[in-house]
């Protein structure tokens, strides 16, 4: 049976910013059905085109944008686009995923992937208008915030439906903590310093208009899967609090478990009451918002009506609240304003929050003095300082120039043992919650292919499985024991990583598909329906196993990229603080550390489950070949980097 284009756009677009050359290439459907889309496309092309000799700020680094395979269709919560590049924070594989209409616009313009290479001699923006592709002068846009840039482009292009990507002042200054923003402040490719890569290419923005249809093979199958999806989320108790509070809902969980990561990840307890989800909901919330096509509606914009920051209206999510507490700040208006600044300047809130907390602890411990800070004291909890340091980082002013390098590089420059206060893995700052007391959590931060990241690794499956399911799927009933279980955790982690990667291939939001109250609901949404949606849209017959394998494939490509850069087991670690210092808190994890032996045990099992060498963490040839990555196996073999 002939392959159909289905919901794919059908072409790749490559633009060389050094030469101005524009190339279009037809999408090979065999390639598409193997790598699916999103992270699958981006990671593959990054591996093929960016060898170790190319540094992140070299013009030869690629910046690749790939909408998820289902973005542009009405599949619920299929709204995400992937951006991929070699990362200026980790020096390895980097990617980010953002909501916002731009990705669907790219597909409607006719492209499943945009590959940017080279660097423009002066600031430019790219204008993609269906088949017309132009590199235009961005002199008048340079220096503008993200929202200003988005609006200026829509105005000058005389079209309010144009989709945009852009960097703010931070990306222009190659702040390693800079992000790329989508459609103003609608979405952000937050982590791994992608904004700095875009800035290094002198690319201020990409504006896109597309008017083409995005096709669908089987409308009846799509509608049936849609109804089943709505049915599952209607019974899943995970969903109502998500709709009611947005991502603020995580607060109650953190409080009970005592895992805030407050004051640079020392404290599990914190004065959280001013940041109660009810406060955000009653006093600041504009409404329950959605990302494109999503019925869960857990997105939030907040407005400050009065006071010091009156008039601020911005998008804000949980991690902003968490990272504010990491800096000791608990004023809800300061938290919203911090989000506003990072959104406008184009900064990664995780990276900035953790890096400012790092600076605060260095100041507290005397590793930074008043001379280093130009007379500005850096106490934890001071929201004015918090804002001022954010601004300084965005513009590389004073101490901000050092902190703009990220906590690890800043720590190395400061010396005097500052590295112990830089809470990062592979150079990328910590996110989500404290892993102490829950053994596989710590490992999950270590194994993520883009540095510390909870979304990549998603070990939360351990929360919802029964001991029977632990035994059935992961070989041990212990896999269901969050605090004491060890057996089965490595296998659980490997499966969980492949699972959420499916979301990144298809462009599905993890909150809509990969968070759930039971394993049955999770598998129904995240594996079965995700696969059925893909098949309905594309007329394919991909099985659930094949979809999980596609997830495993993308993950292995990223791992291979990192291995080729020289990373092995020695880089799969977590911040020393978690190993050496007991969590100060009253929750179940109070007094806990990450036990090195347990960590290594789980990591051994994880490597085994992945088909990698258990000692070194390097991939085995047979694993890569099983995944159809023989060429990668040969490349690694030549470099003596096979496991």
């Amino acid at each position: 049976m002939a392959k159909r284009k289905g919901s794919y756009a059908g072409k790749f677009l490559r633009v060389d910013l050094s030469t101005g050359k524009v190339e279009k290439q037809d999408l090979d459907l065999d390639f598409a059905h193997k790598y699916i889309g999103g992270r699958g496309f981006g990671s593959r092309f990054l591996y093929d085109e960016v060898p170790p000799e190319v540094a992140p700020f070299d013009p030869a680094n690629r910046l690749i944008f790939t909408p998820g395979a289902l973005f542009g269709t009405a599949v619920p919560a299929a709204s995400r686009t992937t951006a991929t590049a070699k990362s200026p924070t980790t020096g390895m594989h980097g990617d980010g995923h953002a909501s916002g209409r731009w990705g669907a616009m790219l597909k409607s313009a006719g492209y499943d992937m945009l590959i940017l290479q080279g660097a423009a001699p002066k600031p430019v923006y790219l204008w993609v208008d269906n088949e017309k592709v132009e590199i235009r002068d961005a002199g008048s846009l340079w220096g503008k915030t993200t929202m200003e840039t988005h609006q200026a482009l829509q105005e000058s292009l005389r079209d309010r439906e144009v989709g945009t990507l852009c960097i703010g002042p931070a990306g222009e200054k190659k702040v390693r903590l800079a992000s790329i923003f989508c459609d103003g402040i609608t979405g952000t490719f937050a982590r791994t310093g992608l904004g700095a890569v875009m800035g290094s290419k002198n690319l201020k923005a990409v504006a896109t208009r597309g008017t083409r249809d995005i096709g669908i093979a089987d409308v009846a199958a799509f509608k049936k899967a849609y109804q089943e999806y709505l049915q599952v989320i209607s019974v899943d108790p995970y969903v109502p609090p998500a709709t009611k509070y947005g991502t603020c809902r995580f607060m109650y969980h953190r409080v009970k478990f005592g895992i805030h990561g407050a004051k640079n990840w020392r404290l599990g307890d914190f004065d959280w009451k001013p940041l109660d989800p009810e406060v955000f909901r009653s006093d600041y919330q504009i409404k329950a918002s959605s990302c494109p096509m999503c019925p869960v509606r857990c997105r939030r914009e907040y407005r400050i009506p009065a006071g010091k920051y009156a008039g601020t209206a911005t998008k804000m999510e949980w991690e902003t609240i968490a990272r504010s507490m990491t800096c000791g700040v608990n004023d809800p208006e300061a938290v919203i304003y911090f989000s506003h600044l990072c959104n406008q300047y184009g900064l990664d809130i995780e990276g900035v929050g953790d890096t400012i907390a790092f600076a605060m602890e260095c100041y507290e411990k005397g590793l930074l003095n008043d001379q280093d800070t130009e007379g500005l004291p850096l106490p934890f909890g001071d929201s004015d300082v918090f804002m001022e340091m954010t601004r300084k980082i965005a513009f590389r002013e004073g101490l901000g120039d050092l902190l703009a390098e990220g906590s690890l590089r800043a720590a190395r420059k400061i010396g005097k043992g500052a590295e112990q206060f830089a809470m990062q893995v592979k150079g990328s700052e910590m996110s989500a919650a404290d892993p102490r007391g829950m053994p596989v959590r710590a490992v999950s931060y270590a194994t993520s292919t883009r540095g510390s990241d909870h979304l990549r690794s998603n070990p939360y499956v351990e929360e919802l499985i029964t001991p029977e399911e632990g035994l059935q799927f992961f070989g041990s009933a212990e896999a269901a024991d969050i605090f004491h279980g060890l057996q089965g955790k490595g296998r659980l982690l490997a499966w969980s990583e492949n699972l959420v990667t499916i979301g990144d291939l298809l462009g599905l939001c993890k909150f809509a598909y990969y968070r759930s109250a039971t394993l049955t609901y999770l598998r129904k949404k995240g594996v079965e329906l995700a696969t059925r949606f893909y098949n309905a849209c594309n007329g394919t017959r991909v099985s659930e196993e094949e979809m999980l394998e596609a997830g495993e494939r993308a993950f292995n490509i990223e791992k291979a990229f990192n291995v080729r850069e020289g990373a092995g087991r020695e880089k799969d670690i977590i911040p020393e603080r978690f190993v050496k210092e007991k969590l100060i808190g009253s929750g179940p994890s109070g007094g806990a550390v990450v036990d090195r032996q347990k960590f290594d045990l789980i990591l051994d099992e994880y490597y085994g489950a992945r088909g990698w060498n258990e000692k070194t963490g390097l991939q085995k040839r047979e694993t890569l070949e099983r995944l159809g990555l023989k060429d990668i196996a040969e490349d690694l073999a030549r470099r003596k980097r096979l496991g």
Binding site: V235, P241, K256, A433, E463, I482, A517
Partner: protein, 96 residues
Amino acid sequence: MNVHLKLYPPLSDAAGAVEISLGVKEKATLEDVVEALVARFGNGMRRHLFDTESRIIPSWAVFLNQTIVPFNQPGALKVPVKEKDEVSFILNIAGG
């Protein structure tokens, strides 16, 4: 006897309150607390605690006074409660 319940969404929405006093039999277990909660607030409560196969959803965790009892642990539901125990229901789904 009475136990003191602390509720979070969606259970607090089903109960219309964040804190309630719940009457249970003497020598009650956590399972009895769940049953009593459902008996008092009906289907609006039941749908959040039981899955479509009528099994108690394993990702619920209870903080019994200060001790966590995740429902996906063997014997969790048989844990006994005493008069005036504080039972906090939290949906154990982390993330960020």
